[in-house]
Amino acid sequence: MEFTLFTMLNGISYGLLLFMLSSGLTLIFSMMGVLNFAHASFYMLGAYIAYTISSVVGFWPALVLAPVAVGLLGALVERYGLRPLHKFGHIPELLFTFGLSFLIVELVQLIWGRAAVQYAIPKQLDGPLFTLFSTSFPAYRAFMMLVALAMLGAIWLVLTRTRVGLVIQAALTHPEAAEALGHNVPRIFMWVFGGGCALAGLAGVIGGNAFVTEPAMAATVGSIIFVVVVVGGMGSLAGAFAASLLIGIMQTTAVALDYSLAHLLGKLGLAVTPATPAYALLNVTIAQSSAILPYLLLVLILIFRPKGLMGTRE
């Protein structure tokens, strides 16, 4: 009971964390069609900037200031890096962000050093929120979940209550026509990109102290957030949300399952010994393969439902 409950809770909270990490990417991707490879780098920048700010004025101001700073950086990147590349299509844009991710790691190492920094959880949130049976649930995790939900709400509002989404979609295919209708397309692009980066920054502020703030932190989340966005359906916010939860719960429960194909065969009365062909493969447990599950899911989804869970385009 305790185990199942906490496995679910862990799954959901991990899923929400994934959503927090990938929401900005979804936003940018859905609106601009740019796969921002540097997204995780902005996440890292958020963590480092928050670390610096919080060591001066504390965590709460950092929670606001760091995302703003990252957002501004993102806007600059769009303005001077991506905007001139729009006309060459998405591959150069993607590659630009790809190169940028290299640069950001180097810059972070130059500024903050190569080792982990001591970016701690604020006092108010350090400690358990509640203890059920003998396991406690950390308050900071709950805070993280809350922020993820707030992000979802905010993006949803921007997408449905404003025409920004429409204008950008329009401008993606026919920028000139959209401008001729009186929309300042480049500026909207810039702020959308900045906004997406700010979301990444916010995820960094919160993820940085929950985990470890170090130069490798970008690389470790890099590919999983792509999985979320793609499985959810290119640019579908609801899809990304669903995919995050799905992956979160799936991975968490998988860890609890120590079964392998050899078990199954054993149940069927077939003994598996080291001499059996594909012995190594048969002996891999679900728990051990939990890390590859998202990628497996990605490949399967793309084959059988290329639009993703809730996407509309391929």
Partner: protein, 231 residues
């Protein structure tokens, strides 16, 4: 309304317009005729700030050359491009809504007016514009620009790909626009329509204006028609 003076336009280094003078008075339909490649589309694009150009372009007395396209649109100039640039992923209605420059701003035209004009669009309002038929797309671009409430509308070959019956309809609506005080600069291939509804016509050839006058005058001038319009 619109005053174009000595306009030169370029695609990169190639010089396409060689000093064009043209004006449109308030409440007037003016047609711009000419062969393919004469530079008619270039002229309206230059006025809209989408082609680099020199000279002067004044809208309601204000210089607009050098402004960005969206700024020009805010000055009250509407433009319907020739190649049906509908936004294919958006629905018909979203396309129309995007025509408004500011969200919710109500101008002379409402969505309902548009649907009354082309009931076909209302039937298809929730469909992605990309799957519309060629003709439906043409109607949509026209309406979308009208939603922005322009004072002067430049239309590039609006009857292209429309069934003859609808072509007649468009002609009627352009006249109706004029009655609501909107000036129209019409770029056309189909002489008959242009002659029927315009107050004045220009004929363009090789990037310069070669004829200016009333439709009647043009009808009378067989030389110009033969040389520049090949009818």
């Amino acid at each position: 309304m619109l005053d174009i003076c000595n306009l030169h336009a370029y695609y990169g280094k190639s010089h396409v317009l060689h000093g064009v003078d043209l004006h449109v008075e308030p409440g007037e339909i003016v047609s711009l005729l000419g062969r393919n490649g004469a530079g008619r589309s270039t002229l309206v694009k230059a006025a809209m700030g989408q082609v680099s150009a020199t000279g002067t372009v004044k809208l309601k007395g204000r210089e607009i050359l050098g402004l960005k396209a969206y700024q020009i649109a805010h000055q009250g100039l509407g433009y319907v491009p020739e190649n049906r640039d509908v936004f294919p992923t958006l629905t018909v209605e979203q396309n129309l809504v995007l025509g408004q420059k500011n969200a919710g701003a109500s101008g002379r035209w409402s969505l309902d007016d548009m649907y009354r004009m082309f009931p076909r669009l209302q039937e298809r309002r929730a469909v992605a514009a990309g799957v519309l038929s060629g003709g439906e797309q043409q109607m949509l671009t026209l309406c979308r620009t009208l939603m922005g409430d322009p004072d002067l509308i430049m239309i590039d070959e609006p009857t292209e790909g429309l069934a003859p019956k609808i072509v007649a309809l468009v002609a009627d609506y352009l006249t109706a626009l004029r009655e609501r005080g909107i000036s129209v600069l019409l770029v056309e291939q189909k002489l008959a329509i242009a002659m029927e509804i315009s107050q004045r016509v220009y004929v363009m050839g090789h990037g310069a204006i070669v004829f200016e006058g009333t439709p009647a005058a043009l009808r009378a001038d067989a030389a110009v028609r033969k040389e520049w319009l090949e009818v």
